[in-house]
């Protein structure tokens, strides 16, 4: 009986190809929209997480002043000094590297080209705290750091703007009013989390920048990267304690510096993209539901259209449940077919759009199965009611139907 009903359903689908195609189309669009949206959303979440981890993993950023908001955080508070870096490195446990950071906007010149960028005064520890790798050349030597030598390591963007395809190593570039030898080239990181170009950097020894660019011994930012698996809260607490002592804050005084945990930023941002993913998924789910209602509508219409046919089938000996089963199978086959085509289409669309949007393609078996199951369920539910109506028709009524 099941086999016969399958055969009957198949013949009915084949007889009405256009109607069947339109029915399937709604489900295809719904299923592929849900899967594509969720897949791309998860890719975007991953992309944001990757970008944030490229800033430095397990990184604490320490800045003077209370954290009042963007651009207001150094109000009145004393800056750090080079000595603070040594103190943290020697007295604090659980940390991997500590680097100072002094940044200042400058224009650099090579031959006839100039480029507006910023210089960063720091130490070799910066390579670790900020996850920089060298593409070619070398890092700073100890004596260069101590003496404040005019040497620099440049990022991929600066290299492209000043040197084009030529090798920058050993060339002299002009920074503000002094010449500086390029000793290293950084491997490219790409675009950062906030759309900024991370490769638009020039690294110099801290003392070089302090003496020749800023003209002070102030250090604006301390970057502390922690060892893998160390307790962030404990490190933060002891770092805060150490800095309070070094800055002679009395008991009860507010901190005149702030410690920012990159992991917190990462969590905030990926939380945002996760909400976006859910929203997009919800919108797509609505389209899937609409597709399901389309199936129900078409099944209802086809029952009305086919009332005489049902009457004939009943008159020549079809049982009520055989007609029911036939309509049910028709609906389920159409829904499942739509679901499968939707899954395949979504795979193509996701891979393509992921490339266009430059986010990773993450195959999610869960959402694919869920969308398929939902499509099949729509077929069963929305196929059942019109089918029951069809099968319950009185054969005479059905035959008289015009």
């Amino acid at each position: 009986m099941l086999w016969n009903s399958l055969l009957l359903a198949w013949r009915s689908i084949r007889r009405n190809l256009l109607r069947s195609f339109l029915t399937v189309l709604g489900i295809v669009i719904g299923v592929s929209a849900v899967i594509t949206m969720v897949t791309l959303g998860q890719g975007a979440t991953r992309a944001v997480q990757d970008q944030i981890s490229s800033l430095g993993s397990n990184l604490l950023q320490v800045r003077p002043g209370q954290r009042l908001g963007p651009g207001m955080d150094t109000a009145g508070a004393p800056a750090f000094a080079e000595a603070d870096v040594q103190a943290i490195a020697t007295q604090l446990g659980g940390i991997r590297a500590v680097a100072p950071e002094v940044r200042r906007g400058v224009t650099v010149i090579y031959a006839a080209r100039n480029w507006s960028t910023s210089v960063t005064g720091t130490t070799n520890a910066y390579f670790e705290t900020s996850n920089w790798r060298l593409a070619s050349g070398r890092k700073f030597e100890d004596f260069e750091e101590r003496a404040g030598a005019a040497v620099c390591v440049i990022g991929a963007t600066v290299r492209r703007e000043l040197f084009g395809a030529a090798s920058p190593l050993g060339q002299q570039i002009r920074v503000k009013d002094f010449s500086c030898e390029v000793i290293g080239l950084l491997a490219s990181k790409g675009q950062g989390a906030f759309g900024m170009d991370q490769d638009d950097v020039i690294l110099l020894p801290l003392r070089t920048v302090q003496r020749r660019v800023t003209g002070s011994t102030r250090v604006n930012t301390l970057l502390v990267s922690m060892k893998e698996g160390s307790d962030t809260e404990r490190v933060k607490a002891s770092l805060t304690q150490l800095l309070r002592e070094r800055r002679h804050l009395a008991e009860g005084d507010e901190d005149n510096f702030n410690v920012l945990d990159t992991r917190q930023i990462a969590e905030t941002l990926s939380g945002t993209t996760r909400i976006m993913t859910m929203l997009l998924g919800a919108v797509a789910a609505v389209s899937l539901l609409v597709g399901g209602i389309g199936i129900m509508n078409i099944m209802l219409v086809s029952v009305t259209e086919r009332t005489r046919e049902i009457g004939v089938r009943l008159a020549i000996g079809a049982l009520e449940r055989e007609v029911l089963l036939q309509f049910l199978i028709e609906a389920v086959v159409l829904a499942a077919l739509g679901g499968l085509v939707g899954v395949v289409l979504a795979a193509f669309a996701s891979v393509l759009l992921a490339q266009v949007m430059q986010v990773p393609f993450l195959f999610n078996a869960g959402i694919n199965l869920l969308a398929l199951a939902f499509a099949a369920a729509i077929g069963v539910i929305f196929g059942y009611f019109p089918a029951r109506r069809a099968a319950r028709l009185d054969p005479i009524e059905a035959l008289r139907h015009e």
């Binding site: 055969l7 013949r11 007889r15 009405n16 020549i316 000996g317 009520e320 005479i396 035959l399």
Partner: protein
């Protein structure tokens, strides 16, 4: 015992003062192998009687025995099984499945009976051949003339080798020439295979093919007579 026995069969549509008595205490016996024409004006109850005899409908009161079985006591499914075992239907409007080949249309009743592919195929081909449509198996109804469509419908009714063939106005949509061909075919099936044939018609010329004519009027049987000179099926076929 008669193949078909109606006793006091009454059919009432609706309730209260507006109720319509389509049949009012009909008694009728039809023996196996008879060729009966049911005549009467519109609304006389002839189609209702046909539906009850065809087990498509049940009487409001009275008894209907088919091969000694009380049909009025059967469930929907039991009546469906009875239909597919013993009854073949031919309708005025042919009622073939659109966009479906003659072969598949004729196979349909066998499919519901659970026959295998080979039996369905052979049965449908044989039935189509017996109505003179050998070679037309793969044509859809739209590609066939009205007469040919009715032949396909007769083949579909015959394919299960029914005891009784019920035809409700089988020639109502056909011209005289095609109508005669269809009636010849029905008469030949009755004569050669011994299939009991009941037709509903309001054309005297078509009723003349039958051996017995039952006239309905206002839900009652107004006349029941053996035809004096039944049309000789062979003679008409030769003249056509």
């Amino acid at each position: 015992m008669a193949l078909i026995r109606l006793r006091g069969v009454t059919k009432v549509y609706g309730a209260g003062p507006a109720a319509l008595r389509a049949l009012d205490g009909v008694d009728l016996d039809v023996e196996a192998g008879e060729f009966v024409a049911i005549m009467g004006p519109s609304g006389s109850g002839k189609s209702t009687a046909m539906n009850i005899i065809g087990c498509l409908d049940t009487p409001s009161a009275g008894e209907y025995l088919f091969r000694g079985v009380h049909v009025e006591r059967l469930t929907r499914d039991q009546r469906a099984r009875l239909r597919r075992r013993h009854l073949g239907f031919v309708f005025q409007g042919f009622n073939l499945l659109a966009r479906t080949s003659a072969q598949e249309n004729v196979e349909l009743p066998l499919l519901y009976r659970g026959e295998g592919v080979a039996a369905r195929h052979a049965g449908a081909r044989a039935a189509l051949k017996s109505v003179g449509l050998a070679g037309w198996e793969h044509h859809t109804p739209a590609e066939l003339s009205g007469g040919q469509q009715q032949r396909v419908a007769i083949a579909r009714a015959l394919v299960t080798r029914p005891t009784v063939l019920l035809a409700d106005e089988p020639t109502g949509n056909l011209d005289t020439q095609r109508s005669r061909e269809i009636m010849d075919l029905l008469a030949a099936l009755n004569a050669d295979r011994g299939i009991t044939v009941l037709i509903v018609t309001h054309e005297a010329e078509m009723a003349a093919y039958a051996r017995r004519v039952v006239r309905f009027l206002d839900g009652r049987i107004a006349g029941d007579a053996v035809t004096a000179h039944p049309v000789d099926a062979q003679a008409t076929a030769g003249a056509a």
